[in-house]
């Protein structure tokens, strides 16, 4: 619109404007603006109503509720109209009201307080309450935001209950073990006492002595009853071994594990569908999984991944020779892996000792892994631990597999047949004892073995010995990793065959991106049979 002072504004256009038929000269109304504001208000109201938190607007200092959002109405079970007649203190118990009043006087208004609201139905809802004072016109209001923490509270209670259960179970376990042990020996002693008392009673006719012997016999009976009770209490004195599938136990536990372990840890199960059966006591196997899972959880403070795997496996005589208490034969493997903090070798050496713990005082009993160890041993199984500081830990438990009807009788003999491999193998393994064992295994198979001192030495060995057919290497080692050693060698020996071995399962290794698809991988622990098969596969020879 031209101003009259604009020289250029034409006389005529100004006259037209005065006559007032232009678009901008129409009389304006507040109505469109009102509708816009009302729509904005509606949007704002929706925003407030759909908040997860309950919001109350309270007139101060009277304490009357003047507004509340939908969440607030639902939380306390009153309609907005009902709430508007309320003194907010009606939603609080008397003592809480007093405490809040004091708190607001202390000017700690921004702070959150945990308190409880009383609903229309008389229920008590735990809430986290925040108060902020605002002034609008002449009035002062407290904007009160209440967050329902019932779920959080019950989750905490559930967690506490599970922990208590666990502690209790472990306590019972050790008491039971003690009681069972004592009762067992005591029963042997009692047998002698009562047996000889009975014999004496048969021969003795002196009434005075018979009376004394009867008393001894009766006291022995009472002692026997007592030991029976002790045995009943310990429960574990006699294992109830039944044929069972460990997969069933793992599946039954999955849901509870999720709750026990917490949301920040992902629980994964990799179960062999055709898993063989073991003779085991079901509650004990549950105890094993529970203890290992709790141990894994505590190792993964900032969250992580817990993997439970089952697999059929065969431990051969070579493995048995290197592990004093292992019988060769078919086994079922149960592995529990975490991506937690891992442990050093000093900790690994002590980990199964009773009362050894790396946790803060009061946080752990030191019996969890000791219990697992005991149960596994009691079942005639073995437990194997592989851990690398910072990468995580894998526990592998081998329980003897019972023969199933479908099983081939030739399986065992197949492994013992004399088979050879004449390859020249470069062995790279940072654990000297393990290197020694694998070297012997390779030697028994007929391989020529060059043992590298470390990962750098391996590269040098390969450079100087052109006749090496294959490199057998650990994956995770100090210095260069197995993958890096291979990459270095491949620069001058691109055709060199390589077989990686690791105590981590290939699944875990693959997750760390160490192996590409198609690379050869041997799972520790392995039998001579396993080793030979993998060597042949890698060398491209027929099995």
């Amino acid at each position: 619109m031209p101003k009259p002072s604009d020289e250029s504004a034409s006389w005529e256009s100004l006259r037209e404007s005065i006559i007032g038929l232009g678009e901008t000269s129409l009389r304006k109304s507040y109505y469109p603006e009102l509708r816009k504001r009302l729509a904005e208000l509606e949007r704002f109201r929706t925003l407030v109503d759909q908040s997860n938190d309950a919001i109350f607007v309270i007139a101060m200092p009277a304490g009357r509720v003047v507004d509340a959002n939908l969440t607030a109405c639902r939380l306390v079970g009153y309609s907005l109209t009902e709430l508007k007649d309320f003194d907010f203190s009606r939603l609080l118990s008397a003592d809480l009201h007093r405490a809040l009043a004091q708190q607001s006087q202390a000017a700690n208004l921004g702070d959150l307080v945990c308190t409880e609201l009383i609903t229309a139905a008389g229920d008590v809802v735990p809430v986290e309450l925040g108060l902020h004072l605002v002034s609008y016109g002449q009035e002062q209001y407290a904007i009160t935001v209440a967050r329902d923490i019932s779920e959080r509270r019950s989750a905490e209670a559930e967690m506490r209950r599970l922990e208590m259960q666990l502690v209790q179970a472990q306590k019972m376990e050790s008491i039971g073990r003690l009681a069972g042990g004592v009762a067992h020996d005591f029963n042997n002693i009692l047998s002698i006492i009562m047996g000889y008392t009975e014999l004496l009673l048969q021969d003795c006719h002196a009434e005075e002595n018979r009376e004394a012997l009867n008393e001894i016999w009766a006291a022995g009976g009472r002692a026997r009853d007592l030991t029976r009770q002790l045995l009943a209490f310990s429960r574990k004195q006699v294992l109830e071994l039944t044929p069972m599938n460990i997969n069933t136990v793992v599946k039954g536990f999955e849901k509870m594990l999720g709750r026990l372990i917490g949301e920040d840890i992902e629980v994964r199960t990799v179960l062999e569908p055709q898993l063989g059966q073991v003779m085991a006591d079901v509650p004990q196997v549950e105890q094993i999984i529970l203890n290992l899972a709790v141990n894994a959880r505590d190792a993964m403070n900032g969250g992580g991944k817990l993997t439970i795997e089952t697999r059929n496996t065969w431990l051969d005589s070579e493995y048995a020779r290197l592990h004093s208490d292992v019988e060769p034969g078919p086994y079922v493997m149960l592995a529990v892996s975490d991506t937690g903090s891992g442990m050093d070798s000093a900790t690994m050496a002590q980990i199964f000792e009773p009362f050894f713990t790396t946790k803060e005082r009061g946080k752990g009993t030191g019996l969890g892994l000791a219990t697992v160890y005991g149960i596994v041993k009691q079942h005639g199984g073995s437990i194997w631990l592989y851990s690398e500081k910072g990468l995580g830990t894998t526990f592998k438990i081998y329980l003897p597999r019972i023969r199933q009807q479908t099983q081939s009788a030739n399986n065992a003999s197949g492994a013992s047949e004399l088979q050879t491999c004449s390859a020249r193998v470069l062995l790279v393994e940072d654990d000297a004892k393990l290197a020694d064992m694998v070297s012997k295994m390779l030697g028994n198979l007929g391989c020529a073995v060059i043992v590298a001192r470390d990962s750098f030495d391996a590269v040098e060995c390969a450079r100087h010995d052109q006749s090496i057919d294959l490199m057998l290497s650990d994956v995770i080692m100090p210095g260069l990793s197995g993958r890096q050693v291979y990459e270095e060698i491949a620069k001058f020996r691109p055709e060199l065959k390589v077989l990686f071995m690791s105590g981590y399962t290939d699944d875990i290794i693959a997750q760390h991106g160490v192996l590409d698809a198609g690379m050869h991988f041997l799972q520790k622990p392995f039998t001579t049979h396993d080793l030979l098969a993998k060597l042949r596969e890698t060398l491209g020879e027929p099995a």
Partner: protein, 380 residues
């Protein structure tokens, strides 16, 4: 017939109309009104009376009376500040053109949140102002029904015209009783102002049949009653006729706009801060003399409305100008511009400012700046 619009607010006319202020303010949803008046109106007691009426309707008042005869932009801004800081939600203006124009300015600033001088011109008001109730206490300005507000730009010594449908009040409560406290000279100046409104709107190039009706009737009412009401100031019948004349003149010029008299009077008010009604009265005959040839038939009708029988009169122009001079003299408005303090050296500047005034665009004859200077010289 060309397209024409007629704009007027709701108005209540008659004795006691001012007492409806409370009812109207309440209907507009007001809780606290800014009551704008000036010291003269306050002294006469009309402000207090309206305030009482508002209070009776449970409406609080914040009074604002720092308004000069030619209301200044600073007074508007100060009033707007007062309105906002006191959390007012409506405006009631009691008084002549000055408080009513100032009240319009305050309303415009409050809802548009910009300095008042930015609204100069036509239709530059984007947001409607808060509810505005006007209670006129003079029979002349008719700002209570018009779409105009005139504000003094003090730094540039220029009266700016703000025009637009958004500057029309929501309701006018037009009551003749407050006129009774005007002295004879104010009655004369305001009455002649109304006469100028009627004459200028009738010859305006934006006039229409509906505005013509009001303009001619206004001329007739003022010519018939002005001198009588000056001599009998308390005759409520005469005051009512004058109030009606002023209202009809307002209805006419609000839509048809004005002409050179107003453009030149605004220039005088801006440069020398002279009273508006008196300037109009002095300039009227000189501008009519200049305009006559552009609309002789219309001027002849004006003569008829003034009560002249111009049949057979060879020189209508002279007869008409003589009648205007007679009325002015009888009303006691006899000053020349020189007597008001205008110097010959002021004329070029006055003409330059008048030449840019928006009221000039509907003048029946398009003057040059030199023409305007000559007219000023004649009125000197």
């Amino acid at each position: 017939m060309d397209l024409r619009k007629f704009v007027a607010p709701e108005f209540v006319f008659g004795q006691g109309a001012r007492k409806l202020a409370g009812r109207y303010a309440r209907n507009f949803g007001a809780n606290r009104v800014l009551l704008v008046s000036d010291p003269g109106v306050m002294a006469a007691g009309w402000t207090a009376e309206v305030k009482a009426a508002l209070n009776e309707a449970d409406i609080a008042c914040t009074e604002y009376s720092a308004v000069s005869p030619n209301p200044r932009e600073t007074e508007v801004m100060q009033g707007a500040d007062c309105y906002l800081s006191e959390d007012c939600d409506a405006i009631v203006a009691v008084g002549g053109g000055s408080p009513m124009d100032c009240a319009k300015g305050i309303g415009i600033v409050c809802s548009n949140e910009r300095p008042i001088l930015e609204f100069e011109g036509i239709d530059n008001i984007q947001q409607p102002m808060p509810p505005l109730i006007c209670i006129p206490t003079t029979a002349g300005t008719a700002a209570d029904v018009s779409q105009f507000a005139v504000i003094l730009n003090t730094p540039e010594k220029l009266k700016i015209v703000i025009a637009g449908k958004s500057a029309v009040p929501d309701v006018a409560l037009i009551d003749p009783e407050p006129l009774t406290t005007m002295d004879a000279y104010l009655t004369a100046c305001t009455g002649l102002d109304a006469l100028v409104h009627a004459i200028e709107s009738f010859v305006s190039t934006a006039s229409s049949p509906i505005t013509d009706l009001h303009a001619l009737e206004a001329i007739r009412l003022i010519a018939t009653n002005l001198l009588g009401t000056i001599s009998q100031p308390h005759d409520i019948g005469l005051r009512s006729q004058m109030m009606l004349g002023s209202l009809e003149a307002g209805l006419a010029f609000s839509t048809a706009s004005l002409g050179a008299v107003h453009a030149m009077a605004h220039s005088l008010g801006g440069l020398l801060d002279l009273p508006h009604g008196e300037c109009n009265a002095i300039l009227l005959e000189h501008v009519m003399a200049y305009n006559f040839t552009a609309a002789p038939e219309r001027f002849r009708q004006i003569g008829g409305a003034l009560g002249l029988d111009l049949r057979g009169t060879p020189n209508c122009r002279d007869a008409l100008l003589a009648e205007i001079r007679r009325i002015k003299t009888a009303a006691g408005v006899t000053h020349s511009l020189r007597e008001l303090g205008v110097k010959p050296t002021d004329l070029p500047a006055l003409a330059a400012k008048a030449f840019k005034d928006v009221c000039l665009v509907t003048n029946p004859r398009k003057p040059s700046q030199a023409d305007l200077e000559s007219i000023y010289a004649e009125a000197l």
